[in-house]
Symmetry: C2
Subunit: 390 residues, 2 copies
């Protein structure tokens, strides 16, 4: 186990009906808030109006930043910052999925800047030193943004999707009410499961010969649980127990816990997926599903031990040599993606071999910012993409 520091700053309020506490939860942080939301679905379901009512009951004044889309855009972050400055907003409340939460974080950090532009955080020219308090009410079990200090934003002009993190970006409170996810359709339910599994698997493949039995067991337990819950939620969208399991498991999947102590690790699949979704407009989880089995096949060539262990512990694969178990494990993951209606390679999302160069170049731009372009060169990423193609 490597040395590490760990602290998670977010207070979680979890459970059926807990969203009705939103006014009481927000009020101690301020009475003038920006409410960040996504597309129309929350308005249709009536949740948006109920949240407005609960906020107003506590005397909270609400300004709206709505229309946030998947792979959220820098331009809307700028809009939000402008509203905050114009209206003396004190708190940013996110009601939506990962895109909405990440937009809220970017707005909260950007509005607290004394100089520079919010994009400087993503290009790592500046570090987040402070932010307005962010409170989240996730309505999708996927990104884990509700319990961590990360955010991912796309600059539509330069065509780059970049991430950054800071202790100041942890939501002060996140209200996780699984009933708010009942209306998530099957495809996005599946993408959420894939995203959470990917958050667990990337640090799981943490070096040539890792010695992290505790982190492995925690990740495996969460993965198995998320797989079961994803299937159950697709089958019965209003099954409270499965939605609850899915919601808490996806929060825990990227709350820092399973990564602590695993040592140096990157998120190569996320890195490449950012290029995929910024250039091809696929959903994040969809892009991850198209890449993960291919990336694992490439990785397992030199590191079959962990993929083999995964096959053994998740799918009960046994009685074969390590390479065979490794291969069978990756095949099982691929089949699982298929069974939940997800892509399992780049062909499945319409990406062709001739697209690899510009994907690799876009990914390497991020790798340079992350300081890992020594590991992830254009050539290296092209090699990985070939494994992901079909």
């Amino acid at each position: 186990m490597d040395n590490f520091e760990y602290q998670n700053f977010t207070r979680i309020v979890f459970g059926k009906g807990e969203v009705s506490k939103v006014g009481k939860v927000v009020r101690p942080f301020g009475s003038n808030i920006l409410l960040v939301t996504g597309k129309e679905s929350l308005k249709k379901s009536g949740l948006y109006q109920r949240v407005r009512d609960w906020l107003e009951e506590e005397g909270i004044t609400v300004a709206d930043l709505d229309g946030v889309q998947p792979n959220p855009l820098l331009s809307i972050v700028h809009d939000g910052i402008r509203i905050i400055k114009d209206q003396g907003i004190q708190v940013v409340l996110a009601l939506g999925g990962g895109s909405v939460m990440d937009t809220a974080k970017a707005v909260a950090a950007g509005a607290a800047m004394e100089q520079g532009d919010v994009w400087d955080f993503f290009t790592r020219r500046r570090t987040v030193e402070k932010a307005l308090p962010v409170i989240t009410v996730p309505t999708l079990a996927a990104s884990g943004s509700e319990m961590n200090g990360f955010m991912v934003i796309t600059d539509e002009e330069s065509k780059h999707k970049l991430s950054t993190g800071s202790p100041h970006l942890y939501p002060k409170v996140s209200i996780l009410d699984p009933t708010t996810t009942y209306t998530v359709p099957a495809d996005y339910t599946a993408y959420g499961g894939v995203d959470a599994v990917c958050h667990l698997l990337e640090p799981y493949f943490n070096g040539p010969d890792p010695n992290t039995p505790l982190q492995d067991r925690m990740a495996e337990g969460l993965i198995r649980t998320i797989m079961d819950a994803t299937e159950a939620c697709i089958k019965s969208p209003e099954d409270y127990e499965s939605r609850a399991t899915m919601m808490w498991a996806s929060s825990l999947a990227l709350c820092g816990l399973t990564k602590a102590g695993v040592g140096a690790h990157h998120f190569p699949v996320h890195l490449i997926e950012h290029a995929v979704s910024v250039l091809f407009f696929v959903a994040h989880g969809e892009g991850l599903a198209a890449l993960l089995p291919g990336w694992m096949t490439w990785w397992a060539q030199d590191h079959p031990k962990k993929t083999s262990q995964l096959g053994e512990r998740i799918w009960g694969i046994s009685g074969k040599d390590i390479s065979e178990k490794s291969e069978a494990g990756i095949d099982a993951l691929r089949s699982w993606f298929d069974s939940i209606g997800c892509p399992k390679n780049l062909s499945d999302i319409g990406i062709r071999a001739e697209d690899h160069v510009r994907l690799a170049e876009n990914a390497v731009f991020q790798a340079e910012i992350w300081g890992i372009s020594g590991t992830y060169s254009v050539e290296n990423i092209k090699t990985v993409l070939a494994y992901c193609q079909s």
Copy 2:
């Protein structure tokens, strides 16, 4: 899954050599501290003096509260409070095991009281509203006190060992340096493993038909890991990886994570063990080992599902009906206790059937304070004790 709130306030600084940061970690909280320690072993190993040196390098003035013993006493808590008040102490630093950490917490909370006695927190006459900052440097992987808001103290006069908790009792920072546990002897290493496993198992048995697949998987992963690490630490006391696994796993075992969402649950084995250790002066983990298999046998009569699942997932027991698997699981736990040199029933620690009444009466005193004497009557506890006798 039940509704819950979750937040953990402690910053963890984990790893080899990290104890040398103690001065720098403590300094932001104050320069006049109380250093709480246990018996002589830390002085012999030189760790005590090294910690003093690191503190002095940062200009920190140290007052000592030493000689804390296992099942720590109220009288020494009173001594500590007096020193704090006399010397204007700002911070309490615990260097030791669970007893030392719990003493530090009690002293920190007691010194901040405006009226009443610190024992009022344990009898639940008063609630902890504030406390001096506590920083811990655990030298034993067992209690999890380094990452939670609980404390257990024994009043030697009334012969009661009582616990309480508060968000104000979370250590601000805990430095977990596994090398500080190299000198823990085999018996206390084993007791630590039993304590951590017991912290996981008590909420695991959380009702007649629980639906908590996520919490179950997390607990099972931690239990399996702790069992492996306990054995490895006993075999090779200076095996860094095993000591590290043990240390982080025992912290996570009672940090609130595996309990969140399991719903109403008590710690009946801990409840009864407190009576055992206060009346018979056994180590806490020793008492737990003597009680846990018996308690599980009693519990499994009406709830064999979870004990069966445990048998299946921890020891790979299969192919039998639910009651048989349950019984085989409990037998496997008993055998494991035996293999690591722990007692597995009350006879093994010299307790006889004629002691049951006073044990039950002592335990029920706590149950009344915990507000659960409806469930845990003298008769009920005597029945459980009969299962634990041999």
